[in-house]
Structures are given as C-alpha cells and as structure tokens.
C-alpha cells in the first residue's frame, strides 16, 4: 500500500513538472503581451515585476523654444511625462559616455552651453550665445522604469495592425471548413456501415488509402482546377468557398474514417429494431445515429477546427494575401518579418491567435480526450 502511494506521488510530481514546463512559454507570452513595449524590448518577462534600467536617447528642443533670461539663452523642456513614474539616475551628453553625470550635475557641451536634468525628466539648457540650430542636441539618460502593464498592445494589434480583421477571416475559414466535412462525412460514414451496396469495402479501402496522399502534393493541381472552374463561372479562384472546399477535401478521408469506426460500434440491434418498425435509412440516421454520435461529432469537430484554425499553408495558397482575406497565421508570419523588432506586437498577436484553441481546449476537454480515442475501443 505504502509503495503504491510513493509511486503515485512521484508520478504526480512528474506530471506537475511537465505541466509547468509546458505552460511556461504560454505564460511568458501572456505576460509579455501585457507589458509596456519599451520595457519588453530590453528585459525578459520574468523581470516584469521589478524595476528595469533603460537607456534612452532624447533630443532637446531647438532654437524656436529658446527664451532669453538675463545673459543667458535658455531652452527648457521635458523628456517624458512626469506621471510616468520613471526616474533618471544618470545622464550623458555624448554617445561615448552615456552615464557620465549624476542627476542634478551640470554638463558642459563643447560649445560651452550647459545642461542639467532633474530626476523626473525636466531639462534646462542654457548658453551665453544664441541657439541657432532647428534641432537640439542629444541627451542620453539612464532611467529606472517601474513595472508597467498596459492593454495598449492589444488595442494596437487588434485595430491598427489588422490582427482583428485576420481573426475574423480565420473564423470565416475555420467554421465552415469544419461543419461542411462533418455533415458530408456523417452521411457517408452511415452509408459505409449500415447500408449494403456493391463495392462498399473497396470504397472504404480507397478512402483509407487516400489518407496517405500528402496535402502538399495536391495544392497546385487543385488550384489549377479551381482556376478552370472559376473562369467558367466568372469567379476568382482564390476565395473563401475555395478554401472551404480545400479544407473539406483534405479532411474528408480522416473524418469519414473516424466517424465510420464510431458508428460501427453502435449496437446493431437498435438499427434492426428500427427497421422492423418500418424506419427508413433516413429516419435511422436522423433519429438514432445522430443523437448517439454527438460525442464523436464533438471530438471530430475539435480536431478539424483546431487543424483549420492553426493552418498556414492552405490559407496561403488558396487565399489572396489582402486584408479582407489574410488569415491569422499568415498575418503573424507577415508581422514577424515586417515588425520583427516590435515584440509587443508579435507576442500580443500570438496570444490573440492562441485564445480560440485555448478556449476550445479548456471548454471541451473531455471531448478532446475522447476524440483521441475515437474508434479505438469498441463501445
């Protein structure tokens, strides 16, 4: 008894360990997506709750802002908002020594003008001769930034960067691409199990065989067929219906196979009894098979939906990369290139794309596990 307990504690600890390992990246992504972008750029998410030292460059105002007080020409200004909570420690006036002076000290430029900065970012720059440049000189400051969290990243990503639109596009691709094969395959699976017709087993064998055809091989031929069809009806080859059909086609074999195995496992006595009572195939399908197969439908729905949601290749090939059609994964890939240095956009975008799979996973967990077992055990 004791031994069993020990091993179960051990396995539970092991489980906990793996759960933590798996959850860390997601957690890190989530924290990063909420952090202030300047802080995110220079420090990791695990430092999110500590004060971070940031080096910044600011340019002081130019001649237009100067005022004359006694013998001096003075330019005053602010390097950042006073209520931002940032505190300057050191500052410098050349890129060679960016923390040469402590706050409050007076730094002297080569042209004899003097500058000083206070802790909250107000500077006073004065000179005995008039300032003549439109733009001021640079100030290098080392700032202690308090932890800062914000929803700005989400606002930016959803509305400015087009992730919001891409999210809707992906939903418009994934939902029909999941429901259409489910409808077709449920009929088909029923026919393959409970209807007797010539060549049924051969048909099943062909479907199983078609599982081995890699999707990547058929992309261009299918697109070519779409073009010919599209030209016939005067519609574009790359369109939502096209991508629905592609996903449906690619999902057909596995969905049929899984559903057929499930339906096969239902007790045959029920169908026979129904038949004796005069039920047609359609009645049996609608009134017996469908209600009994809901768990299988749910689990296949999850698998197919997640596949379509996370897909990149099919979406790239069968849709134009324009704002009205680009899917989330393609959009993220695009941002990775064009906004590669803007981590706040990438982390936030990635998290937005993860929300739906996460939600589905947590909400429908039991179906998900059943889905993995679908057809493997005879009910």
């Amino acid at each position: 008894m004791k031994k069993k307990n020990l091993s179960s504690i051990f396995s539970q600890l092991l489980l906990l360990f793996f759960v933590i390992i798996w959850i860390i990246p997601t957690f890190g992504l989530f924290i990063s997506s909420l952090r202030d972008k300047d802080l995110l750029a220079i420090s990791g998410w695990w430092t999110a709750l500590t004060t971070t030292k940031v080096n910044e460059i600011h340019r002081m105002s130019g001649m237009e802002d100067q005022i004359k007080v006694d013998d001096y020409f003075i330019i005053k200004g602010k390097l950042f908002e006073t209520n931002s909570g940032k505190k300057i420690q050191n500052f410098g006036i050349t890129s060679k020594r960016i923390d040469e002076y402590v706050v409050g000290e007076i730094a002297i430029f080569k042209d004899k003008s003097e500058v000083t900065v206070d802790e909250v970012g107000n500077y006073i720059w004065k000179s005995k001769t008039e300032f003549t440049k439109k733009k001021g000189k640079r100030l290098f400051i080392s700032v202690l930034s308090p932890p800062a969290f914000t929803f700005d990243n989400y606002r930016e990503v959803l509305f400015k960067e087009g992730i919001g639109r891409a999210f809707i596009n992906t939903a418009a691709v994934a939902l029909p691409s999941t429901i259409i094969p489910l409808i077709i395959c449920s009929f088909f699976a029923y026919a393959l199990t409970w209807m007797k017709f010539f060549g049924r087993d051969t048909l099943l064998a062909i479907i199983i065989a078609s599982l081995v055809v890699p999707l990547q091989m058929s992309l261009i031929p299918i697109l070519t067929i779409y073009n010919d069809f599209g030209a016939l009806f005067g519609v574009a080859a790359k369109s939502y219906p096209g991508v629905w059909m592609a996903h449906t086609g690619f999902g057909l074999a596995s969905t049929t196979f899984l559903l057929r195995n499930f339906i096969k496992s239902l007790p045959s006595e029920m169908m026979e009894a129904a038949k004796v009572d005069g039920a047609s195939h359609y009645d049996i399908f609608l009134k017996i098979i469908i209600p009994l197969s809901i768990p299988a439908f749910a689990s296949i729905f999850i698998l197919q939906f997640l596949w379509c949601w996370n897909d990149l290749l099919v979406g790239l090939v069968f849709l134009d990369q324009v704002p009205s059609e680009i899917i989330l994964t393609a959009k993220l890939k695009e941002l990775l290139g064009s906004r590669g240095e803007n981590w706040e956009i990438l982390t936030t975008g990635a998290f937005v794309s993860m929300t739906v799979p996460l939600f589905i996973f947590f909400a429908l967990q039991k179906y998900f596990i059943r889905g993995l077992l679908a057809g493997s055990v005879k009910g």
Partner: protein
C-alpha cells in the same frame, strides 16, 4: 548589357528635371466602377500602407476597388500562383530576373505599345527601362512586360552624424579610408557595422548587394557584366576575392554588431536600429536608399541619420561606381482595370505621393522635385552625378534560380562559415544546371 550611361542619365536627368518641372496635376481615369484590381508584391509594412494609399488615389479617380497584399516569401509564392494560374492581377517584382522567369512561364501579359510609349516618353532614357522590362514569353518572343515603379540607389552607407561627431570620425572619401575607419572604430571599442541578411524566404539578398558594390570597386565594369552573364564563371578568383573582401567586414566579430553569427539571423529591417540605440550598437550601415522607411519612428533625415557614398578605392583606377535597382509592376491579365492601373502608375501623381513619404526615387520626368520628403533624398542626386559608372543590381539580372536562389543562400552559407570557394562552386553548379 550596357546600361551604363543610359540609366545613369535616366535617374540623373529626372532628378535634375524634377527641380524645375511643374507638378503633373491629378490623375483622371475612366469610370471602372464595380471592377477590382488585386496587387501582390514583396512590400510589407510600412511600404504596403503607402501602396494602399497610392491605390486609394486610383479608387477615387475611377471607382474601381484596389487591394494590395504583401508576403515575406513573395518569390516562392508568386511562382506557385503563376504555375496554378491564379496570380493577382498585378505583380510587383523586386527583380527583373524573376519577372523574366514569370514571363517565360507565360504568366505575364504584354503591356502593348501604348504603355511602352508612355515609358519612352516619361522616363528619362526610357529605352533602357524598356529594355530591362522586355522578356521572352513562353514561345521565345520578346514582349514588353512590365514598368519600373520605384527605383533605388544601393551604394550608400547610413550613419548617425551625432555619433560620428562624438567620436571624432570623418566621413571616408575612399575605400582605404573606410577600411581604416572600420579598424579605428573597432580599436575605440565601437562596433563599426550593422549587417542583417534576414528577409524571410529572400534571406541573404543584402549580402549580394555588398558583393556587387565590392565587385564594382575591385574590377572593371566589363568584368562585372561578364559576371552577370556568367561569361566569367561564378567561382572565378575575382569573384572569390570580392566575397572574401565582404568577409573581412562580415566575418570579423569585432567589426559587426552581434558578431558574425548574428549576420544571417538579423532581419535586414532590424539591422539599422543599432545606429539609434543607446549606447550605439554600431556606427555604419550599408543599405539602399529605401532603408529609412525602417528607421525608428520620428527619426529625421539630416539630423538623426545621414548617408555617405560607399567609396571606391583611391588606388584603383575605377572611378566612382554606383549600384542601383528597381521594382517592376507586371500584369497577369489584360482586363481593363488592371491595364488602367499600370497607366495610372505612369502618371506623376503616385510617384509624387510616395516621394513625399520618403524612400522613393523615380526616373519619371514629370514629377515635382519639391515633393521629396527631405533634402537628404535630393542629395542622392549628388551620388549619381558623382558616378562614373552605373550598374544595375547583378543578382536582379541573373536568372531567378541564381539571383533569387542560390546566390542568396550561398551568401548565408558564407556568413555561417563556409569557404568562399565552396560557396562559389555551389552557385556555379546551380547555374550550370539551368543552362
């Protein structure tokens, strides 16, 4: 292959003329309500926003709708689309070589004499632009397939004037001085260069520009032309020498930001950021005239950054060569709206619109030069006037399999430590394979 004086003259005269020419007024087009034009190209943010705004001018004038989509893997994706026959109406090719491939597949429609005449009339030295965008179709007949929209000058080094001043560096007037300056910076504890080759599926292209600029500075333009046409094999000692010269910058951990390992993994759009960090991560960045589009928001030309000409050797009698390139717009079908859009792009208005946004040079004679974003871009004219040789980007002229393929990947291999000889042999093999 002699574009020397022609293109030089082209861009030159246009820039000169643009100071005096009057604005071309507003574009007016036929009513195209209900029609739609889709454009696909390599431009991503922020250039794609500008392209969409340019498209909006067209939408307003004609009532048609315009959509632009960009991809990081444009070169691969456009080939899939063309093979399947479902490419966007308009395709923006970053290279003539790739456009020639597309034309040979029968993917592009000839633009016809009217547009050809527009190029001849409106672009300075129009004939040379026409020559560069005339390709053999699937039957081997030469067709005028594309127009150049947005050209750029590549032989530029970007830097921060303030950082130079703080360290007491002078702008180098010759390659010898540039090499000395690089050493000086490294011994001062600064990092001289920021180099980034990353560009999605096109990763490696910035290194090909380095190679081309170096070729023009170490050998005669005739050697360069022989290299482009493969009359001189890619693994010729002269090419190896140029590659190793690039290596003296890129493979020296003290000369490049992040060390040589970071060269291939840094995105070309992120690379120049090192000029603007505190403390500065690097002092210089060699890149074409379009790069300010990727500088940090709010940086101002002439204040926060500036450029100097990537100098030639004082000791070699090769003059001052300049490297340039341009993007082409081609059509995959000849419906009315698509062709009209190309005509629209020949109007000064879209050129002027993009000029005002920065990072845009054009050989169009009809544009108003005062629309340029800043004096810095006007200064580009001086780079051209000072040039004794002008050459079009070699990798862009090489066949797609080389110039948009093995040359790119080869340069990545080279920065990852493969020897110049192995890299050049592999590129030559891939060239032999398509002959």
């Amino acid at each position: 292959m002699n574009y020397i004086s022609k293109i030089l003259l082209a861009t030159l005269t246009s820039i000169m003329l643009s100071f005096t020419a009057l604005a071309g007024g507003h574009y007016t087009g036929p009513d195209l309500s209900g029609q739609k034009v889709v454009m696909f190209g390599p431009w991503l943010s922020p250039e794609q926003e500008t392209m969409r705004e340019v498209g909006a001018i067209f939408e307003k004038a004609t009532g048609a709708t315009f959509e632009y989509g960009g991809s990081d893997s444009f070169e691969q994706q456009v080939m899939i689309d063309l093979k399947a026959g479902s490419a966007a109406d308009l395709v923006v090719f970053p290279q003539p070589g790739l456009a020639a491939n597309a034309a040979a597949m029968g993917g592009l429609v000839p633009l016809g004499n009217e547009i050809k005449q527009m190029v001849l009339d409106n672009y300075a030295a129009g004939q040379s632009w026409v020559d560069l965008s005339t390709y053999a179709d699937e039957n081997g007949n030469d067709q005028f397939n594309a127009i150049f929209f947005r050209t750029n000058v590549k032989s530029l080094v970007w830097y921060s004037p303030d950082n130079f001043e703080d360290n007491g560096y002078e702008i180098p007037g010759s390659m010898e001085e540039l090499i000395a300056l690089t050493r000086q910076m490294a011994s001062d504890g600064n990092t001289p260069w920021c180099i980034g080759l990353g560009s999605g599926a096109a990763t490696g292209w910035p290194a090909t520009d380095w190679m081309e600029d170096i070729m023009l500075r170490t050998h005669s333009p005739q050697v360069y032309d022989m290299w482009v046409s493969n009359e001189m094999p890619f693994n010729d000692p002269r090419v190896l020498e140029a590659m190793d010269f690039f290596g003296t910058f890129a493979l020296n951990d003290q000369f490049v930001n992040g060390g040589s390992k970071a060269v291939a993994t840094t995105d070309f759009r992120d690379a120049p950021n090192g000029l603007f960090t505190s403390p500065a991560e690097c002092m210089m960045h060699r890149q074409a005239s379009f790069i300010p589009a990727f500088f940090p928001e709010g940086s101002e030309a002439g204040v926060d950054y500036d450029f100097f000409y990537f100098p030639a050797y004082a000791s070699k009698d090769l003059g001052t060569p300049v490297l340039g390139a341009g993007t082409l717009v081609a059509a995959t079908n000849d419906n009315q709206a698509t062709i009209e859009f190309i005509k629209f792009l020949m109007h000064p208005e879209p050129h002027e619109y993009w000029m005002a946004k920065g990072g845009f040079l054009t050989p169009h004679k009809g544009v108003d030069g005062s629309k340029y974003a800043s004096d810095t871009f006007r200064k580009l004219g001086e780079v051209l006037t000072g040039a004794t040789t002008f050459r079009f980007d070699a990798s862009d002229l090489m066949p797609g399999a080389i110039g948009a393929g093995s040359f790119w990947t080869g340069m990545v291999d080279y920065t990852n430590g493969k020897s110049a000889k192995d890299v050049a042999d592999a590129i030559q093999d891939s060239w032999d394979a398509i002959k």
